[in-house]
């Protein structure tokens, strides 16, 4: 059992937990994730480790309440215990010196890109960060990202904060202006696809962090398989980071919809365990 030490509402429907998990905290590296199972009935949910504190023995996860399982998780409070937490899983990011690196974070994707940005920054890279969200309300960790960036841009779809528009517009402008050695993008799959498309034209190495449907997270089931160039990879053990130029985005987007109908059923049966609610 893993105790929730702290809970912060970062934005509407976006919550942050600090969880007591000393062993995982010792080992967690940027880019890795954990699998959380709230209780006996819960799904195994993969969530990126947004931060970890070896001394306190805690890890930080940030999640958006998009379905039943994340909603259930979001109802947990400080002091509550999560039944299962396993990690750190996946490969760590390759933190290297590249030169000038653009880190693009969209929506809740800012959480996973933060530890990578920080590590890249500490490695001596010049960091240009571009953070985007629907509106001002949904922007998270601006100050933390700013702290580890040499240049910092914010966009919102509605213009309620920073520049109105998409992260890709800023990205294009920067790439036109100066030489960029690497781009790291984490966020909604459409955003990562758009970023990869733009950087591919310019031939700039681009890494994305994929978040496909997962089950065990240890390479056992293949639910998370993604087409990377002419190879099939398991995101849980071969990723989650991949070369954005090689990802088969159509396939990746489609596979996320595998259980779309079931996800709706789970939402409508909310809170009801006494009957087989919502099946028909």
């Amino acid at each position: 059992m893993y105790t929730i030490k702290d809970k912060i509402l970062l934005a509407p429907g976006i919550k942050m937990f600090m969880i007591d998990a000393p062993s995982i905290a010792q080992k967690a590296k940027p880019g890795q994730f954990v699998i959380v199972r709230k209780d006996e009935y819960g799904e195994r949910i993969p969530l990126t480790i947004a931060d970890s504190d070896k001394r306190e023995g805690t890890i930080t996860i940030i999640f958006q309440e998009v379905g039943r399982s994340t909603q259930d998780l979001g109802k947990m409070e400080v002091g509550d215990m999560i039944l299962d937490l396993v990690g750190p899983l996946g490969r760590e990011s390759e933190i290297d010196f590249y030169g000038t690196v653009i880190c693009v974070g969209g929506g809740v994707g800012v959480a996973p890109i933060y530890p990578i940005t920080r590590a890249l920054h500490m490695k001596g890279n010049r960091i240009i960060s571009i953070i985007g969200a629907r509106s001002a309300d949904y922007l998270i960790w601006l100050d933390k990202m700013d702290e580890v960036s040499d240049e910092f841009y914010v966009t919102t779809d509605d213009g309620s904060y920073g520049r109105k528009g998409f992260v890709t517009e800023v990205l294009t402008e920067i790439m036109d202006k100066e030489e960029i050695n690497m781009v790291m993008a984490i966020g909604p799959i459409q955003m990562m696809e758009a970023v990869s498309r733009i950087t591919k034209e310019k031939g700039i190495k681009t890494l994305v962090s994929l978040n496909p449907i997962m089950l065990d997270g240890t390479g056992m089931c293949g639910a998370c398989r993604v087409q990377i160039g002419d190879e099939v990879k398991f995101a849980c053990v071969d990723g989650p980071e991949f070369d954005g130029h090689l990802v088969d985005w159509e396939n990746a987007k489609r596979r996320l919809k595998m259980f779309e109908r079931e996800e709706k059923i789970a939402l409508t049966s909310l809170g009801c365990r006494c009957c087989q609610g919502g099946e028909k």
Binding site: C221, R225, R255
Partner: protein, 465 residues
């Protein structure tokens, strides 16, 4: 006083077919006491019992059967447990027809004694009525880490604990049992039985740490260097699913058997949305493969309510690696077998969901290295089958995680850890391995046999330190 020889085994009471396919209730109900005694009476109590030679863990079969005749079922259970830590599991899923029962002298002329069913009867009796007294040797002070809580790891852990060593089992998933809980379905091996067997092993003093992925949380080297374990046993099984590498395999609706079975068994997707992990089958399911895993998947699909559940296998029934009993049950329940056939492509609809599978017919040619006749495709024989789900049950390989993160640990071409068959010794001092991670996908009892042998050699190794 010559006694009449009963030529056939007393049949196993089975759940009626119409009840089976509507639930995950266990199909084989187990012998009653009366049936067990009658069946035990068939045993010839040979002076040189060849059945024991057929048992990978060397259970004293005539002795436990004799104890059944004496109505001392707890003693019978104790007798089995001298050699086998998971009798209720083995009584259900061992391929006895290829092991003990194959060697049974009675079997030369008639049907062999139903050793597996008797083992199960005794083990179930003990789980329901008994509290076994274990004799544990005094603590040795040595600590052993066991990686993986499947049949190999549990057996190794139990044996080492009995010898007085301090044992911790590390399991990656949230429940212990490995393939016994994520792979083999409830209707063949109830999870409550597995849980009870594991409780018994814990009662020996074995600690089980779930949610612990060795190679990620700690490496094998760290377990030995920093965590104070004197030896490590690796029993991580065959957990890496194989796919066919044919077009359309990444469509929605194509599962590995591991994913399909894990969703249903481990995550209880059959009770969705009570349990939140979903499963989706549509109306028509095709399972590719001919082993026990394929049978499990096809029979599971039926229980989830599909209209058609096909098994597509490229050889014939005779070459199928699945147990005869499993094939029989699958047929009874309505699984449809398509032999001498193999998929070449999976096609999807506009939304990228599986809608049909294109297969090619095969014929049998010359025998291959396995001795089975090689399946040869017949050109131009392609045909289409409308299906909503395709489940790949064509085998599993070793998970590379441990090998990739452990210094000096040698693996073969396929990625299996190289270990001595008799001792489980690997290329790395203090590290032992056994079960499917060494042999490639095999059976529960062979993994247990390997775990047991490794325990003996680990004990020897520890005492030499």
């Amino acid at each position: 006083m010559p006694r009449e020889i009963i030529k056939n085994k007393y049949p196993m009471p089975l759940l009626p077919i119409e009840k089976r396919i509507k639930s995950f209730h266990e199909v084989a109900l187990g012998y009653t006491e009366d049936l067990a005694i009658k069946e035990a009476e068939r045993c010839l109590q040979c002076n040189k019992p060849s059945c024991v030679e057929g048992c990978p863990v060397g259970v004293d079969i005539p002795a436990f059967i004799k104890l059944i005749l004496e109505r001392d079922y707890l003693a019978a259970a104790a007798k089995i447990k001298e050699k086998n830590s998971l009798p209720a599991v083995c009584g259900r899923v061992c391929p006895q027809e290829n092991q003990c029962e194959k060697m049974c002298v009675l079997g030369k002329k008639y049907e062999p004694v139903a050793i597996g069913r008797l083992e199960r009867f005794v083990a179930d009796y003990e789980l329901a009525n008994g509290e076994l007294q274990y004799t544990r040797k005094s603590p040795t002070g040595y600590r052993v880490a066991v990686v993986g809580s499947g049949p190999a790891g549990l057996t190794c852990a139990a044996e080492l604990a009995k010898m007085g060593h301090e044992v911790t089992v590390f399991e990656a998933l949230h429940i212990a049992g490995g393939v016994l809980v994520y792979g083999i379905p409830e209707f063949r091996l109830p999870k409550s039985i597995v849980a009870k067997e594991i409780e018994n092993i814990k009662a020996l003093g074995v600690k089980i740490e779930v949610n612990s992925v060795i190679g990620k949380l700690w490496t094998v080297d760290e377990l030995m260097r920093e965590k104070g374990y004197h030896a490590v046993f690796i029993g991580t099984g065959a957990g890496l699913p194989y796919f066919m590498d044919i077009p359309g395999e990444n469509l929605n609706g194509v599962y590995s058997a591991n994913e399909f079975l894990t969703r249903v068994n481990l995550m209880k997707a059959y009770d969705f949305p009570n349990y939140l992990t979903p499963i989706r089958t549509g109306k028509r399911v095709a399972v590719i493969g001919g082993g026990n895993v394929a049978m499990d998947a096809a029979r599971t699909a039926l229980r989830l309510g599909v209209e058609e559940s096909y098994i597509i296998y490229r050889r014939t029934e005779k070459e199928m690696p699945a147990r005869a009993e499993e094939i029989e049950h699958a047929k009874e329940e309505g699984v449809r077998f398509i032999f001498l056939s193999c998929p070449v492509e999976i096609k999807g609809d506009n939304e990228g969901r599986v809608c049909e599978i294109i297969c090619q017919n095969y014929e049998l040619g010359e025998p291959d290295e396995s001795g089975r006749r090689r399946p040869v495709p017949i050109p131009g024989s392609e045909y289409s089958l409308k299906v909503d789900t395709v489940i790949m049950a064509i085998g599993q390989g070793p998970n590379p995680l441990i090998a990739a993160t452990t210094d000096q640990l040698q693996v073969n071409k396929k990625g299996n850890i190289i270990a001595d068959e008799q001792t489980g010794k690997t290329s790395k001092p203090g590290v032992f391995a056994g079960g499917d991670i060494v042999s490639g996908a095999a059976t529960v009892i062979l993994a247990m046999g390997a775990g047991k042998k490794a325990a003996l050699s680990i004990d020897k190794y520890l005492r030499s330190l």
